[in-house]
Amino acid sequence: MTATESSPASTRPGEPMLSVDDIALYYGNIAAVKGLSMRVHKGEIVTLIGSNGAGKSTTLRAISGLIKPRAGSISFNGERLTGKQGHEIVKAGICQSPEGRRIFPRMTVSENLDLGAFLRNDKEGIAADRARVLELFPRLADRISQKAGTMSGGEQQMLAVARALMGSPQLLLLDEPSMGLAPVLVDLIFDTIETIRDQGTTVLVVEQNALAALRIADYAYVLESGSLKLEGPAAPMAEDDEIVRAYLGG
């Protein structure tokens, strides 16, 4: 097959931060993901791409403990996450900006950001992170006391990412951060993801906009109908016409 498939792990030294091993995820009796294994190393941007319904969001929901894998295991910094509840996984250091934003519509932008830091007690750290996310997304500063549900889709997306960052995660999970955004905002979001990584947060991003995701990612996994089809360093993948045509809708 392709060169990217041959012993990909050898290109990524060290212990993985997040390791997903052979998980199976079901909705009722319908398998959404089968036998998926993936790794995220510290300091990386890893992307999970694939078409609609491939099981990407389901995988992120499983990592965050919102659904339980029927088989396989997920561990983070050597600690087993499988069987832990959602709030315990946030405590372990994983925050998610979920599919469909899921901001709290009847609360203000400010209250949403506060909730992102729900488990933290370090007042100074919280204030610093608040300043940081408002610098990343100046639009939110303008809307700080507005009810979140009254903002535009793009602003809500920024809030969802900012809220996840307020938890000061070691690993940030982003589910379709570019969904429904104007092209100029898509570029802004992807630039911001790179900035977030450069500031020390590891990122796992799920995207339908595969080429944009590959451009910023270090490593990529391609899902198709719930199974892993391909994995490898992101840059060569984006340049391989055959792969782009077969899996990425290029």
Partner: protein
């Protein structure tokens, strides 16, 4: 962006013919009730004030129970049918703890302290029972179709009634009260001691509850969980514990209502929770279910309506009490289905 006067005028809702007629009928009804109240006030001002005070006392008790319905509905959209019976158990617990164990009701000054201690105990007992029922009968059904927990709530209601039957017996029992009869005489008007105590207990409880929900970390977790459970989990909120805490708050309010009911009317019945629970639930719906201020407003309004209807010279009298309350509920639901303070439901996209 500044909104110009023209834009503001354009954004005003346009009333269709049918809505105009409905609004007209609604306003006519309100005007009618106001005239009726003024007419009664002129006919007998002292009587008017007295029945208003009695209505307020009853309304405060309804409000405390209604809060339990609205808190639970607000967070998991469950109509907790067992809640009225929890209130009944609160009154039965009060009779046991305050009268049987503490021996209060002899008229000594120590009774007041014992009543305060009993209040705390009964609130804790009802909170504990409500947490237990949530753990046993509702938690596992949280992702089940809405009808399933509704039916288990009916089941818990029967279990609570059976528990009340066991503790209280099948007949109505009378108990000595700590609060003496009579009241504060202000000229021609007498404010019953029980009215004063009910208000003195209810108002701080409402303030504490409002503080918990609006200002504390737990309250923030409650509001977030009410809006989106999965999103709350992603914030690190322990959703199970937050829901249990909400049941505890509702239960504590029902316990307080039980004590105040016993101290006002001096009786316990194992089936008292059915009727009072139904009226308190009506109060929660009237005010806008899920809205805390609405539950209090609805409770006080229904208390006043019953007081006025039962006691005013031109009222329909006590035998029509329930009919009047539910007629008003139906009228309000027709004109404003979301309740007085409820927000219109917007379909989620």
């Amino acid at each position: 962006m500044a909104i110009t006067a023209v834009e503001a005028a354009d954004s005003r809702p346009v009333l269709l013919g049918r809505e105009k007629v409905e609004r007209g009928i609604g306003i006519a009804l309100l005007v009618g009730v106001t005239i009726w109240l003024i007419w009664n006030f002129i006919a007998g001002p002292v009587q008017f004030v007295n029945v208003a005070l009695a209505g307020l006392r009853l309304g405060a008790i309804y409000a405390l129970i209604a809060l339990g319905y609205t808190l639970v509905y607000g967070i998991i959209e469950l109509i907790n049918f067992a809640h009225g019976d929890l209130f009944m158990l609160g009154s039965v617990f009060t009779s046991i703890v305050l009268v049987k164990w503490f021996g209060a009701g002899t008229g000594s000054l120590a009774d007041w302290g014992l009543m305060l201690v009993t209040l705390v105990i009964v609130m804790a007992m009802c909170a504990g029972l409500n947490i237990t029922s949530e753990r046993v009968a509702y938690r596992r059904l949280r992702r089940a179709p809405k009808l399933a927990p509704l039916i288990t709530a009916v089941g818990i209601s029967f279990i609570f009634q059976w528990f009340g039957l066991l503790l209280n017996g099948s007949s109505q029992k009378s108990w000595p009260k700590v609060i003496p009869d009579g009241g504060l005489v202000l000229g021609p008007v007498t404010i019953d001691w029980s009215t004063i105590i009910v208000i003195v207990v209810t108002v701080p409880l409402l303030l504490i509850l409002s503080y918990i929900v609006q200002r504390t970390r737990q309250g923030k977790a409650m509001r977030a969980t009410a809006q989106d459970q999965d999103a709350a989990r992603l914030m690190g909120i322990n959703v199970d514990r937050t829901i249990a805490f909400t049941f505890a708050l509702g239960g504590a309010m029902a316990g307080a209502a039980g004590l105040l009911y016993l101290e006002t009317f001096g009786t316990t019945r194992y089936d008292a929770g059915f009727q009072l629970g139904l009226i308190a639930f009506t109060a929660a719906v009237l005010g806008g279910i899920g809205n805390l201020q609405g539950a209090v407003l609805g409770g006080v309004l229904i208390g006043l309506i019953q007081g006025f209807n039962d006691g005013l010279p031109y009222g329909f009298g006590q035998k029509w009490s329930q009919t009047v309350v539910f007629t008003i509920l139906i009228l309000l639901m027709v004109f404003k289905p979301e309740g007085i303070l409820g927000k219109p439901t917007i379909e989620k996209v």
